[in-house]
């Protein structure tokens, strides 16, 4: 290699070293890293900001999707992940060591539509499944009409639209439909991205689905409750297991969690027996390793993480409702608290 080239290389090496040094310096301050679900991101941003002001611990959370959050945690590039779906058995196996889940708040999925005058509609589980299976093709179909006496439904074609990107929203929605419709269970099943009926439209993200619904008379799609509220979109009431048509609100979503919660908080909140509960609800979780001594992680970092997590399911819950998320029930918060306290460093508990 000739002189100038090696000179250039050594210059590059010096620059690189300088850059590394420069980025190394602030890392001495504590900064916890997280990544995952986008649905709770606005809440987490608010919580982390408040926590930083009070306890001087920086938290960097990137909304890259639930699957991304799980991947990053397994690759040990983050301290904690966020996910809208409890990790599957395969993923837990890939993690190599026990991973804990704690719920932080609840979300719900609503059915939104675009009809002349946008009347408030009632949907039976059958109607929702029929629409998204492509079996109900007209808005005045008796399956929709029978639940909506007094509403004059137009003779419009139903244009169903789903989320084209893999998402926790799709997961909760399909998990609900798998429970309430045998045909859905056989043909489509549960997942973050699905094999939808042929010729059904897919759009990217909540904004994509919302945009398509707003633009298309007769369209019907599903989006997160929070997104629908913020964008003033019309959405329907859904008939729950107790036989009541429930309007999705923070209260009815929280009510869906009024069931027995197992110790690992792995519970589905769709179609629960709670009489006042909205049936398409679900937890969103934070995930982290139970044993925190891995990959050369310092003990004070692990402690900072444990403290943050405790705060999020405790004091931090006061930020949940103002941002229009549904807060944890007392029981769920208590279980989460217990889970955080079971975190260890070298086998000894981190928190007393």
């Amino acid at each position: 290699m000739s002189g100038i080239f090696s000179k250039a290389l050594s210059l590059m090496a010096v620059v690189l070293a300088l850059v590394c040094f420069a980025t190394d310096a602030p890392a001495l301050d504590m900064e916890l890293l997280g990544a995952g679900a986008t649905f709770p991101q606005p809440l987490y941003s608010k919580m982390f900001d408040a926590y930083n002001q009070q306890y001087k611990v920086k938290i960097n959370y990137q909304g890259i999707g639930s699957g991304g959050g799980i991947n990053q945690l397994i690759r040990k590039t983050v301290d904690f992940g966020g996910t809208d779906a409890f990790m599957a058995a395969k993923e837990l196996q890939a993690a190599g060591a026990p991973v804990l889940h704690i719920p932080t708040c609840l979300g719900a999925v609503v059915v939104t539509y675009n009809l002349p005058g946008n009347p408030k509609l009632n949907f039976t589980p059958d109607a929702v499944a029929g629409i998204f299976l492509g079996k109900i093709t007209k808005w005045n179909d008796p399956k929709i009409a029978s639940a909506n006496p007094g509403v004059k439904l137009p003779d419009l074609p139903v244009s169903a639209v789903h989320r084209a990107d893999g998402s926790g929203t799709t997961y909760i929605f399909s998990e609900y439909l798998t429970k309430v419709s045998r045909e859905w269970k056989e043909k489509i099943g549960t997942g973050k991205s699905l094999n939808w009926p042929a010729s059904q439209i897919g759009q990217k993200g909540n904004p994509g689905v919302a945009g398509y619904v707003k633009q298309t008379p007769g369209a019907v799609g599903y989006v997160e409750l929070l997104y629908a509220i913020q964008n003033r979109m019309p959405y329907g009431n859904i008939k729950n297991r107790a036989g009541r048509f429930i309007e999705p609100t923070l209260k009815s979503v929280s009510a869906a969690a009024n069931v027995k919660i197992p110790d690992d908080t792995n519970v589905s909140l769709t179609d629960t027996e709670a009489a006042a509960g909205y049936p398409i609800s679900g937890f969103t979780w934070l995930i982290f390793y139970k044993e925190q001594n891995y990959g050369g992680k310092a003990k004070d970092r692990a402690e900072a993480l444990a403290k943050l997590l405790l705060w999020m399911v405790g004091d931090g819950q006061r930020y949940v409702e103002p941002l229009e998320y549904a807060p944890l029930s007392k029981e769920a918060a208590a279980k989460a608290n217990k889970l955080v306290r079971s975190m260890t460093y070298n086998g000894t508990p981190l928190m007393k």
Partner: protein
């Protein structure tokens, strides 16, 4: 980096050598980069390559819940939308090239039009997508209602239209460039023989500039094949083989962009396999393009001279 320390003759020699080494190094780096990308794709796609092999190209099902993956619908979607967009764009881009390269070479009108075309090329694709969602989609829907087909509004046709609009500036500005390069002598000779302007354009300008025009069109095709955002917003993202130009479909770039963030295991590997296929398709299109340009430019030089 000539430091001036060297004595003149040998110094020039040495700096010449260094310059050559740097050039060769940069050239090699590009090739290495290409190979590295290919190797990374192949390596990360390996679980899917092992599982589906060549049947990946003919598989019509894409189902993450049962982990069956086939890329045919996306291959078809990418090729259909790109070529349809190309067909739609060709008359417009050639017309614009001739208009700006031959009729309005200079002056305020020309400058205005030229910069308008350039601005069109610089608009981010998400803006094209949004415009398509708010304007093109209702328009296509209106057409579909009139024709009596399922009124989705989005699908192959809508994406091809937006792609056509997006690629016109590319082929048009290259076309204009080569048309202005046609030697004045040739044109004047034709005029002096009594040819009309139309005849000059048809017999002299177009044949002479043909290889450049086609190169521009192929460059545009490359852009159309890889376009992601605008297409995702307008194609309907349906993972099935399209049955007509009105049906919703999906492209390779779009399925990757949509599903990669949430994908794990075989699903992620299959998406990378799709990326590998996209990589190969782009390469094949480029190789064919280079071949066509070479062939045509030889013919054209024979015709004109």
């Amino acid at each position: 980096m000539y430091t001036g320390k060297q004595r003149a003759p040998s110094g020039t020699d040495r700096s010449e050598k260094r310059f050559n080494t740097i050039l060769a190094g940069s050239g090699l780096l590009i090739v290495l980069l290409l190979l590295a990308i290919f190797a990374t794709l192949l390596l990360t796609a390996l679980p899917a390559v092992k599982e589906f092999g060549v049947f990946f190209f003919t598989g019509r099902e894409w189902d993450a819940t049962t982990e069956t993956f086939g890329a045919l619908p996306f291959l078809a979607g990418t090729l259909l939308t790109s070529f349809l967009a190309l067909v739609i764009s060709i008359p417009f881009s050639i017309a614009i090239s001739i208009f700006l390269g031959e009729y309005f070479k200079a002056g305020a009108v020309s400058t205005f039009l030229r910069s308008a075309v350039e601005v069109l090329a610089g608009i981010p694709s998400v803006i094209y997508g949004l415009w398509g969602l708010f304007f093109l989609m209702p328009a296509v829907r209106f057409l579909e209602v009139k024709l009596g087909v399922a009124p989705h509004g989005v699908g192959i046709l809508t994406s091809s239209l937006i792609l056509a609009i997006m690629i016109i500036p590319f082929s048009a500005s290259i076309g204009r460039e080569v048309i202005t390069l046609v030697p004045g002598d040739l044109k004047e000779a034709a005029y002096s023989l009594g040819a009309t302007r139309f005849e000059v354009i048809g017999n002299i300008v177009i044949p002479y500039a043909r290889s450049g025009i086609i190169a521009g069109i192929l460059l545009a095709l490359g852009r159309a094949i890889g376009e992601t955002m605008a297409v995702t917003m307008l194609i309907g993202n349906s993972n099935f083989l399209p049955t007509s130009i009105f049906s919703p479909a999906n492209t390779m770039a779009s399925i990757i962009a949509n599903e990669f963030a949430e994908a794990t295991g075989v699903t992620a590997a299959s998406l990378i396999y799709v990326a590998l296929v996209l990589f190969l398709v782009t390469m094949v299109v480029n190789i064919i393009g280079t071949y066509v340009i070479q062939k045509i430019s030889v013919e054209a030089s024979r015709e004109v001279s």
